[in-house]
Amino acid sequence: MKLLKDIKNLLIGMRITGKHLGRHAITIQYPEERWEMPERSRGIVVLLSDKETGDLNCTGCLLCMKACPSAAIFIDAPRDPETKKRKLLTFTVDNALCCFCGLCEEACNFSAIKMATMYEFSEPEKEGFLWDMKKLQEVGLDVDYIDTRKKKPAKKVPKPATDSGTATDKIVPDTLDSDAKQTPPAPEPDKPKEDGE
């Protein structure tokens, strides 16, 4: 009887594989078809530009550089001795070092750096992974984002207690939310920016 049971189980196995034979493939033909990446997908690092002026949002505050766990970001932004403001000279990302953790994006308070959903950036040479400011900006031009910057350099507001929901680590004052609320044209920062695919 064990023999019959074994044969039955062998046939069950064949039935399962045979059943799948008629089904459509779940894979896709990659270069012709692509998955639609979810909005939160962390691909290549890009620099974002202001939608109106076209300038980089980056202020050269070095927060992303400090947050990067693999030292893939290099920024040169010396302080202007007179105005005490930083001037962004170089912003280089070594994509070969990048580990796509998204910490830079979370560290940024100025909507200046983002991990776009792009994932195709292979290069024949290692040097090709070194993206300078221009390239980063170019790639980031058509990346959609929600601007959470302060419109004006606002006065220092004491820490609001209501920093919830968006769990981004912020070093520089947690004033963004409250500030954004005060300036009507800015989009709602509380709205989760990753709504759906």
Partner: protein
Amino acid sequence: MAELRTEEFTVNMGPHHPSTHGVCRLILTLSGEKVIKIVPVIGYLHRALEKICENRTYAQCIPVMDRFEYVTAMSCEYLFSNAAEKLAEIEVPERAEYLRVIMLELNRIASHLIFYGVTAMDIGALTPFLYGLREREGIIDLFEMTCGQRLTYNYIRIGGVSKDIPPQFEPKCRETIKTIREKLNDYEGLLNENPIWLVRNKGIGVLPADLGIAYGVSGPVLRASGVKYDIRKDDPYSIYDRFDFEIPTRENGDCYDRYLLRLDEIKQSLNIVEQALDALPEGDIKAKVSPNFKPPAGEVYARVENSRGELGVYIQSDGGKKPLRVKMRGGSFNQLQVLPEIGTDCLVADLVAIFASLDIILPEVDR
């Protein structure tokens, strides 16, 4: 007539061998096909993760943790966050804890699905591998939807989780659970009672409970030997004490029991995810943690139950923003250590089956 001279010979199984799950090298002494001696040689994947962690701030350590055991990266993240929270005595919001449990359990299922496929492949059935990975894809999609990455999530942070789940997560998650429940029938039909599968796995690589205890084996491998020890129940972390689930155990401790036990665990984990989804409260997802997170000086050993046994981390802090020492402990380390004990005196083919059933993942061993 002179007697035939026989000779033992040495075979290098690995580092590049299809069934060593990475780059493990086993130096086998064979007599014919029979394995007489096994010497595991590891270190091919040694990336000095512990040294790397010593060089990074606590927040930066978490992406490194993803690389420690990338099949269940969530539990590594959780582990490190948990240890850091213990050091700094941070209270994690309720919702974050629930989200963590959902992710941990989904990741456990994903890991066991890989185990299902890989074990079947090592024993020669190639199709289950694709089936296992197909369902895992659903889970990975959920992760990607939530945190943006498919393998190195960097989702669970010190003090909570990085992002709230998107609105479409819950329906999709329930759908995935339903699919996996359905597909489990296929899995079981393909292998569970298959006579070839039975003869290849039953009674092979028996790990007696006392040997497992002596070698510090934990997780499904030990539970298949009949020791009911699961950190989720016995040393509860997070909010596991709120869920109603069972710790499946098996008696024989052979490859077949280890295989069945993991399928049972998938079912239990599905239950936990469902309960967590039902009870998911509203609220904050992250406690206030400064980016210049500096825990007070001290030390802690935290541990979680992941799909390969106890995953532990020992952190010593000197009060600075970088840990003084991070020592990681993975279940695979001890399971590979016990392999020479249970793998000798069997055939090469059995060794492959045993290796697969221990579910060893080499980055965890080599770190």
